[in-house]
Every structure is written in C-alpha cells, then in structure tokens.
C-alpha cells in the first residue's frame, strides 16, 4: 500500500472514530454507573439526526445549533424514561446482572417503538442534505469541512466531559459510583442524582452525535442498531465505565472499519462491523486495557 492511501485511511478513520467515541461514551456512562444497557442508543442517534435534518431542510438552521437542540431533546427523553421506568426499578432490583437483563429487554421495546414510530412519521426514505461540503486539504488528503467540524466537536465534547469527571467534585462522585455503588452510597452520595445525571448526559450525547452524523450520511429509521453495536464494541475494547478507554476504543474502531472498507468495498462495512463485534466479544472480553469485567 502506498503512503498516500495509509495517510488517507488514518485521516478518515480518526475523524469518524471521534464520533464513534462520542456515541460510546454516552452509552458507557449508563452501563458503567447503573449497569443499564441502552440497546436503543442508536435510535436516539436516529432521532437526533432527524432533528437536524428537519431543522436544516425547513428553516435552514445550522446543524451545530440543532445539535444543541438535539442534545437537549435527548436529555429530556432520557429523564422521562428514567422517571417512568427506571427510578423505581433500579431501587428494587439488586444484582447488576438482573439490571442488565431488565434494561436490555426494556430498551429492546423502546428500540422497536422508536424505529417504527419514525417509519410511521417520516417514512423509510433516505434523508440527507448538503451542508459544508467544501473540501479542505490536510497534508494532501482532501477532507470535507462537515466531517472535520463534526469530529472536532465530538472529540472536544468527549475530552471536555472526561476533564469534567476528573476535575470536579461531582465528577468524582460519578466515578465513585462507577467503582462501587454501595460504598459510594455509604459515604453519603445521592445515587439517584448521579443516575439522573447519567441518563440525561448519556441520551444528550446520543442526540448530539446523531445531529453531527446527519451531515455526513443519509438518515433512515433503521440506522440505529449498527451504531449501538459499534458503541458496544468500543466499550468492550475500552472497558466498562472507562471513559478514556472508550475514547481510545472509538478511534481504534474507526481505523479498523475504515481500513477494512478501503481494502474491500463499502458494501462490506456492516459485515466488517459485525465480524469485529463477534470476534472482540469472543476473544477480547477484557478489552485492550485489560481490566476484567467480573
């Protein structure tokens, strides 16, 4: 392979990897703190994408503005689901495995609900729009401005959130809940507040990522599940509850998929994704950073 191709794979892989990282961090926050598995994460991304699409198509609102709106909408939806379904159940269900299975089945219902509601309201047509498609050159590789800005926004949010968790008192509280929920409760942490926070931020990140992705790819009601799968691979690679791990994992998966597609054809992208997914869970359940789950 020539140097130029490798460079191109690096640029494309890392830019898309930033967005994967953002998606995975949102999902990891719920899994890490509460053991809640949001398999409908991708459907929140889909809703964020439609938000940006309609705001741009109808009112020509910049995607970066509608990304903020999508994040607020996502947070509201997260809070709603937490209030209605999880706030009582998380108190009664004790074992982490039971929470995982319970939330998996609940969100499975949410997935079917949202996907078909989207089909009903917006039909199954491909929806895309043209925004910021001028190319800039990055050391010889042409890169569309929307891709560059979307990945910069995604990585900035991931890093910002990571620093927030590391540097503030509330961030420390969240990390304490990730490490040991019961011990955190013993020293006076209001676990419910942390849960509420994680539901809001996790869903907000998904909505935001969806808005950013809508600039790059066309949206259909069915784009959700592959993104959820991607996020799960990233989380397994980087470790549950490990935000920095998700960041590294996201970039790595971006590179793997981009390289795989570059060597075969775009028709293989989902095949590669699911192949990597099965292989990672089978052979690397402890992830790249090697911290065992249980």
């Amino acid at each position: 392979m020539e140097w130029e191709t490798i460079w191109r794979i690096l640029v494309f892989g890392l830019t898309i990897g930033c967005i994967y990282a953002l998606i995975a961090v949102g999902l990891n926050l719920l899994w890490g703190t509460m053991r809640v598995l949001n398999i409908a994460h991708g459907q929140i991304i889909m809703l964020g994408g439609y938000t940006a699409f309609w705001l741009f198509t109808l009112y020509h609102i910049s995607t970066f503005l509608s990304a903020v709106l999508a994040a607020v909408g996502g947070a509201a939806l997260g809070l709603l689901i937490y209030r209605i379904i999880f706030s009582a159940s998380l108190r009664t269900i004790k074992s982490p495995e039971a929470v995982e299975v319970f939330s998996l089945l609940i969100f499975f219902g949410v997935l079917i609900l949202l996907e078909n509601a989207a089909c009903l309201v917006w039909t199954a047509d491909l929806r895309g729009y043209v925004y910021l498609t001028q190319n800039v050159e990055i050391w010889g590789t042409p890169l569309a401005l929307n891709r560059l800005f979307a990945s910069l926004a995604a990585i900035a949010i991931c890093l910002g959130f990571y620093i927030y968790l590391q540097r503030t008192l509330f961030g420390k509280v969240v990390r304490a809940v990730v490490q040991d929920k019961d011990a955190a409760q013993l020293v006076g942490v209001d676990v419910n507040k942390v849960y509420r926070f994680c539901f809001c931020i996790g869903f907000a990140m998904a909505g935001l990522a969806g808005a950013l992705l809508s600039m790059l790819y066309a949206i259909t009601p069915f784009i959700g599940l592959p993104y959820t799968m991607m996020a799960l691979v990233v989380i397994v690679l980087g470790g549950i509850g490990n935000i920095l791990g998700s960041l590294i994992g996201g970039l790595l998966l971006g590179l793997i998929i981009t390289a795989g597609v570059a060597m075969t054809s775009p028709a293989f992208s989902l095949l590669i994704l699911y192949g990597v997914f099965v292989l990672v869970i089978l052979f690397m359940p402890a992830g790249i950073l090697g911290r065992r789950l249980r």
């Binding site: 998996l104 499975f108 599940l225 799968m229 095949l271 099965v278 869970i281």
Partner: protein, 316 residues
C-alpha cells in the same frame, strides 16, 4: 382430576381439531395456522435454551435462516425427499449451534445476548455477500414448492415433537440441570452438573427445531433472500411471544404466538408500523409489570401470591 388428565382433556380435542383442519377449513386459515405454528415452534424451542438456562439468545433468526437456506439450496439444486430436507436443515443448524456454542456459551449475561444478536446479523451479511458474489443474484426463486397441506402437516408434526421434547426435557434430570444453571451456575457446577455440556446440548436441541422450522417455512415462501430469512424481526417477534405467554414451560410461547399472530393478522397487514409500535409497548409493559408472562399471571391468580413468589425466587 390430576393435572395430567386435565392436560390431556385439553390437548386431545385440540389435536383432533388441528389434525383435521385442512379437510374443512378454507385455505386462509391453513396459511394463518402455518404462521402460528412457525412462531409457536420458534418460541417453544427458544425457551429450551433461554427459558430453562436463563441464557437469553437473540439469535433465533440465525438458526431459522440456516435451516431455511440449506433446504432451499438443496431444493433448487439436488432435490431430496421433503422429510430428509427438513431433518437436514435442522441438523445443519444444530451442528452450527454446537460448534459456536462452546465459545459463546462461556459468555454470560448481556455479552451473550449481544454475541447472539451480532452473530445473526453477521450471518445475514455473510449470506448477502454469498448471494451477491457467488450466486450473483439477489435471491433464490423457488419452483414447484410442496402444497400448503403438506407444509401444514409437517409443521404440525414438528410442533408436536418440539412440545413433547420441551416437556420431557423440563421434567428430566437434564432439565433439572438446566434450571440449576439458571439459578446459580457456580453452585450447579460444584454439585457436579457438567454445565458446559448441558448448555451446549440445550442450545443445539433448540437450534435443531428452529432450523427445521426454517426449512419448512422457507418452502412456503416462494422467494428466498438473506434479508428475509435472517430478518431480526423473526427473533424479536418469537422472543416477545414467549415473554408474553411466559417462558418457563411450553404453554407460554404457544399462547403468546396465538395472541400476537392474531393481533398481527388483524392490524399488521394494514397498519404494520402501528402493530410494531404496539409490540414495543407490549414488551416494555411486560418486562416492567408481568415478568412471568400471561401463564405466570394466571397461575398467580390460581395458587395465590405466596407460592408464586417462591417459584419466582427459585426461577430467577
């Protein structure tokens, strides 16, 4: 009446009605019954692994699809007699389940759920690539499929075998071992249950029936493509039916299949999205309020709350 005779007084009339149905019922009811049978078989075979051991598999479509594909590939290239084709479809599916069972059944909880879902999506894309690059066409048309009555009776026989197997397994030492895995796998292992072999055997048996069902139903559809037979909706619907009915014995999935297929028939064709939205809401409500399913709820009314909570503790 003992429970056994009571069960027989219910089952024998049902069996007589079902086995004579094609003689007098219009074709529409036969084709509706085929769909109900298909989901009932998938649901009952699903509980053999997921209900008994607690390993929730979202890979139903994978095993169904393998059975379907094997049969259709043989049917179009090298036509064997129908019973052999059905058994072959089931056996290939069971063999595949046994081979992948060893690595994937070591994985527990959500990881197992994901890996089965991922595997069935992976198979769908593998077969899509196979269609596109090896067969060089989108799907396989099916010429001269067997008549609907033949398929109806094949499914009926398969259904009876599946139900009897599920029932016999539940009341055997093997079944006790499977339920002990669900209760506490480490304790079961310490008590001398060969958990790996038990899980793989249950996984392979359940895939045998799923694959055979796929083999029969594929012959009913006259056009086969990966997108249709590996459709994750098959997994979703079959597992939701089992959850709706109750997933600790064979009655639950059958009840769930009858209820949901009839609802799907009433709404699903004209309002497919409304039906699926309803299905999603049903699942959420079920998991939140009715974790033991309809059969569990009926039993709760019958024998009182205290005993059910004991059953629940033993089961979860």
């Amino acid at each position: 009446m003992t429970p056994k005779t009571r069960m027989l007084t219910i089952l024998i009339p049902i069996f007589i009605i079902l086995s004579t149905l094609p003689l007098y019922a219009p074709a529409y009811y036969i084709s509706l019954s085929i769909i109900i049978f298909m989901y009932a078989i998938l649901g009952v075979s699903w509980i053999i692994i997921s209900g008994y051991t607690g390993y929730i598999s979202l890979g139903i479509a994978a095993f169904f699809g393998i059975g379907a594909y094997v049969t259709v590939l043989f049917w179009t290239t090298f036509p064997l007699p129908l019973p052999i084709l059905i058994v072959l479809g089931g056996l290939v599916s069971a063999f595949f389940a046994a081979v992948i069972g060893f690595p994937i059944l070591r994985i527990r909880g959500p990881y197992f759920v994901f890996v089965t879902l991922g595997l069935s999506m992976l198979l769908k894309y593998v077969f899509e690539v196979y269609q596109a690059y090896v067969l060089k066409r989108v799907g396989i048309p099916l010429l001269g499929p067997p008549s609907m009555e033949v398929l109806y009776y094949s499914l009926l026989v398969l259904g009876i075998i599946t139900i009897v197997s599920a029932h016999v397994i539940k009341n055997s030492k093997f079944g006790l071992g499977l339920f002990s895995i669900r209760g506490d796998e480490e304790a079961a292992e310490a008590m001398g249950v060969n958990t790996t072999m038990y899980k793989v055997a249950a996984f392979a048996i359940s895939s045998l029936f799923m694959g055979s069902a796929g083999a029969i139903v594929a012959l009913r559809w006259t056009w086969i493509e990966p997108h249709i037979v590996f459709n994750p909706m098959i997994t979703f619907q079959a597992s939701i039916m089992a959850l709706l009915g109750g997933w600790t014995d064979f009655r639950g999935p059958i009840l769930g299949a009858v209820v949901l297929v009839l609802i799907a028939e009433a709404f699903g064709i004209r309002y497919p999205y409304h039906y699926l939205i309803l299905l999603g809401i049903t699942l959420i409500l079920l998991v939140k309020f009715l974790p033991m399913g309809l059969i569990g709820a009926i039993e709760r009314l019958r024998i009182g709350k205290k005993q059910v909570s004991e059953v629940k503790d033993a089961g979860s």
